[in-house]
Symmetry: C2
Subunit: 307 residues, 2 copies
């Protein structure tokens, strides 16, 4: 279960490239069709997007695309679009009306560093920017491929994907009346709230690479397993992790009575499910042989709960 030599270096290199690309995409210069980029709004968008994170989602795009020898610059564009969606969702999820978080990665959340109205607008503008980036010629020369990315990203992020999953999560907290989702309900909400974007990441690699149906299906199975594993690992970390090591408070889910697979299956059951998911993720990659070694390492990395 060791990481192949260089995995951490590959992850870090991709993160640096994404950081540089987002920096460029969030520059002050208005584009064709824009009038001006108001400094306060741009600063809030930059606060939300720049300065850290493992950039796991863009990494998955880059590594999935690498299976098909997609030029790296294209995969980075699609990855940056996806990262804009991820960052917007964090800004809105942190709002007082949602999860009401003051800190994110040790820094003030956008509504704390700025104000609530600015945070709402910064999230809106980042979501909008994501589609702008996905649609640009640098992402892929073929308009049909860019359109497929736009569509897949919209489905992953919207009412039937991430936004819908956040809605289900709020409902599962009992906000709109008594709620006690079963394991299937928890799996659905997690597949939407966190799984959909991770799955899109792998799908994006297949789209950029012109993958055939069997390859696309394989990457989709990998992405789905990885997405579910990601959430279980996160929940296990909360249930068992040492706050000093984890770098944030743990035990929050149990205290809040949150519906997680750990709560429903116990830590033993959840860990068994996690192991099965990682095995499924690795198996899904069989057809790609050694070329998919970094994606396999990514699954182990996710399972090791160090994301």
């Amino acid at each position: 279960m060791d990481q192949p030599q260089g995995f951490e270096a590959r992850l870090a290199a991709c993160a640096a490239e994404i950081e540089a690309l987002l920096e460029r995409l969030l520059s002050a210069e208005p584009l064709d069709g824009e009038r001006t980029r108001p400094p306060r709004l741009l600063a809030a968008m930059r606060h939300a997007c720049l300065g850290g994170g493992k950039r796991l989602r863009p990494f998955l795009v880059v590594e999935s695309a690498a299976l098909f020898a997609v030029p790296r610059a294209r995969a980075l564009m699609a990855g940056a679009a996806l990262e804009c969606v991820h960052c917007y969702s964090l800004v809105h999820d942190d709002l007082p009306a949602m999860d009401n978080d003051d800190l994110r990665r040790g820094r003030p959340t956008v509504h704390k560093a700025f104000d609530e109205a600015t945070a709402v607008l910064a999230g809106d503008a980042l979501l909008t920017l994501a589609f702008d980036v996905a649609a640009r010629p640098e992402t892929h020369p073929d308009p049909a491929v860019r359109l497929a990315l736009v569509t897949a990203l919209a489905r992953a992020a919207g009412v039937g994907g991430m936004a819908g999953g956040q809605m289900l999560d709020l409902a599962a907290e009992g906000r709109f009346g008594p709620a006690a989702p079963d394991a299937e309900g928890v799996r659905t909400l997690q597949a939407m709230k966190t799984g959909a974007l991770l799955r899109f990441a792998c799908r994006a690699g297949a789209l950029l690479g012109g993958a055939g149906p069997a390859e696309t299906e394989a990457l989709d199975r990998y992405g789905a397993a990885l997405g579910e594993a990601f959430q279980i690992a996160d929940d296990l970390l909360d249930a068992e992790g040492d706050p000093a090591e984890v770098g944030k408070a743990t035990g929050k889910d149990a205290a809040a009575g949150k519906a997680t697979l750990v709560a429903l299956l116990g830590t033993g059951g959840a860990r068994a499910r996690l192991d099965a998911l990682i095995a499924a993720a690795e198996t899904a990659l069989c057809r790609f042989g050694p070329a998919a070694e970094t994606l396999r390492a990514t699954a182990r990395f996710v399972a090791a709960r160090r994301h």
Copy 2:
């Protein structure tokens, strides 16, 4: 300055078609790539989008596209995408942290009818849906045209367009420190906050119709003039309108010390500017001859402040 016979009927017919289309787009059935559409979120999106409005923006798409004999169903799709963006912006602008409005068109705003978290998510999901709709084959058979729509819509709605304009508007209220925008500043914020989407509407017609540069430029001039006229007419209505006739409180801008062109130019100056803009909008349409009569009537309709 009379409306041509049938103008109101054309406007109403288009509104009914857009209502039916939005009804279909916001059905409970999940699409390919969606898992499920959570009922509460879908209900909030439907509350925001269905049940009224003149649908001026879709009408502009339809009538601009009609100059180039674009099949009406395509223009309606692009118009519905645009209406999703417009409706999302109303949901977020009404939030307590933004303009804090309890009522819209005589009905409770989304965060009043549901709750704040649901309103944030409903806006997010509508914005996302807009790009999904613009990217669909029903909008145009040529992927390059759909991509051009996605890009233009993103630029019109994002940091350098509508979202940026809302940011400038909050700043002009003095929220982030003393502010006293001059006429140029007010014009910029209005061109972004309300103008960008109206301008996009006309641009969309040109894109759908494969218009040449001169035709595109003419429609762009029309859209820009119309956008500015729209806002001045709205501000004049607030300054001079009879609340009983207008159907909502008036005099709010002056009471709030809001920076409008009416405040800066006086009602006489603002009315003169409005007349000049409507003349400019009509002039821009010269090259289209009688085919553009409905667009001319739309400009007069906007100026008459009955929108």
